[in-house]
């Protein structure tokens, strides 16, 4: 009782109010600064391009009349569509392979009486500290036929050691009695894995599934190094050409179906607009699901930190 009163008095001390004031305003500003770039890109993508190219400073609402013309242009571009489709394939296949590999490894290494667990763990841990480096890795990938091949986007990243260790920790945390009970009921080892262990590990599975999903969606470097054929490019790599290398030679821009662009200046303005639109297209799927999945992502850090 006395303690409660004390802290209540403490709450209204001037120094405390000042502390709160500074703390809350600082965090508010930080949050706004963190959020603004995303807002800016979204607002710019629906702005009038001719106003946008002349505009200086921050944006708090779309310039001119809000329109989706930029998006129309982007979705008329065949290379973007192909990239989008490629990304969906790589993310779908890649994440499926990721999950299968990770579950296999995590299950085997979570067995408490596995005789060769020590040597296998050592072999895996070593790779967390040493690696071949970029060039030997690239040459080996080329040697085993990963060059310019769909497999290049799936197999080299099939497993992430860190995620496997997170899942293994999850498996180890399950009460062994449940597994024992299943075996007494006559279930085989495969059945125990599928019917007992996996359903009980849904939260951890969700965490690593999301990590892989986001990783695959955002991946571009392996594609740049290993894919030569533009028909195989994922969306992120096309995005890199448009945003970073400033290559706006998108086929439709300038000749624009449906949107008439008369002058050279207009074409430049539309190119600028397209940059914002592709950025939004590549980011929105992640940002839309993100608020709902945030707690799972954060959980992964907690699980990982226990082991680390």
């Amino acid at each position: 009782m006395a303690k409660e009163q004390k802290s209540k008095i403490g709450r209204y001390k001037p120094s405390n109010i000042l502390f709160n004031l500074i703390n809350y305003s600082f965090l508010t500003i930080l949050t706004l600064v963190c959020f603004y770039p995303i807002l800016h890109v979204i607002l710019a993508s629906i702005s009038d391009p001719s106003l946008l190219i002349k505009h200086q400073g921050i944006l708090l609402k779309p310039l001119g009349e809000a329109s989706l013309n930029g998006y129309r242009l982007v979705f008329k571009d065949s290379s973007i569509l192909v990239g989008f489709k490629n990304t969906l394939v790589y993310v779908g296949l890649g994440t499926a392979v990721n999950m299968i590999f990770t579950i296999c490894g995590a299950y085997a290494l979570s067995r408490r009486d596995l005789l060769f667990k020590g040597p296998v763990m050592l072999m895996i841990t070593v790779t967390m500290f040493f690696g071949g480096g970029l060039i030997p890795w690239f040459l080996i990938m080329k040697n085993i036929g990963m060059y310019n091949n769909l497999a290049a986007m799936i197999l080299p990243t099939a497993l992430n050691t860190w995620n496997m260790i997170i899942l293994r920790t999850g498996f180890q945390g399950l009460p062994y009695e449940l597994e024992e009970a299943a075996i007494i009921d006559g279930a085989g080892q495969a059945q125990t894995l599928l019917k007992v262990i996996l359903p009980l590990s849904k939260p951890v599975l969700a965490v690593i599934f999301l990590y892989y999903l986001v990783g695959n969606w955002n991946s571009w470097f392996n594609a740049m190094v290993l894919l030569a054929d533009r028909e195989l490019y994922p969306l992120q790599l096309l995005l890199k050409e448009i945003l970073v290398m400033n290559d706006t030679s998108m086929s439709s821009v300038g000749s624009a179906g449906g949107v008439s662009i008369n002058s050279v200046q207009g074409a430049t303005a539309y190119r600028e607009l397209v940059k914002y639109c592709v950025t939004v297209i590549a980011t929105l799927p992640i940002l839309c699901v993100y608020p709902f999945l945030q707690k799972y992502f954060v959980k992964g850090v907690y699980v990982g930190s226990i082991k680390g």
Partner: protein, 321 residues
Amino acid sequence: MNERIDMKAPETKKKEKRFTKDAIRKDFKKNWFAYLLLVPIIIWYLVFCYAPMGGISIAFKDFKPLLGFARSKNVGFKHFIDFFTGPYFFRTVKNTFLLNLWGLALGFTAPIILSLLLNEVKNMKFKKLVQTITYMPHFISLVVICGMIHIFTQPGGIVTQLVDAITGTSHGSLLGFASMFRPIYTISGIWQNVGWDSIIYLSAMSSIDPGLYEAADIDGAGRFKKMIHITIPQIMPTIMILFIFAVGGLMASGHEKIILLYNSLTYETADVIATYVYRRGLQEASYSFSTAVGLVSSIVNFLLLYITNKIAKKHTDVYVF
């Protein structure tokens, strides 16, 4: 991780007894399913991790793709000597070190400060909102992040205008200035990671015994005092572990973000060992030379991690391995 080391000693003694033919047969019979699932995993590690490690041998050869790994000519330490005496040795080493030092000074401390401030926020809704938004950039792809940096630092971009106003001179594109590269790289890195990296500190703070704060209340400590004398010492082990890794990574650098941000105008400050390896190796196909450069860098990294860990072990009771 330190737990495993403790267990190793008795194991080595028993080793001869453990791996007998009989024990192995029994183990395979009992755990055949686990071993079956382990097969693809081991193959994956051999092909995608260990084969490239074996490929390091080309650092000592004059690798010709047509001759392959085995038949390329041995040249000993030629490539290493070329790198150490070459014109880019000093520049790449200096840039790698400085860029990481900036990261250590600003990028490492920012999440600690954020977590301390968030820990003082009692309004849960506000806390949640700040967390949700500051975590967000972590999930945006690097390409998009760098695309945004390009947009904001182009002539007339928001950041360019801000910098122009502060310095009083008019810049074109900020990414064309060597002096701007480190600030842009580091500050955008904070934007990307400050929220996400604060999670681990917040989780450490959530496990602090509330009794400590109550005792401090009775002693009349204010909030700031409690932060300095309770919260920070309590999360110190977490800070130390991450610090060991950060110092161990002083000579390592991610090449992906730099590749997306640098250009020939900014090589002077932006070209690090990893990007040099990338350019020489993949763009100019000097495979052996760039492998040698990469090898030097990973050896130095491991040594740094080892030394920092050793120092930390000696002076505190926190260490990685």
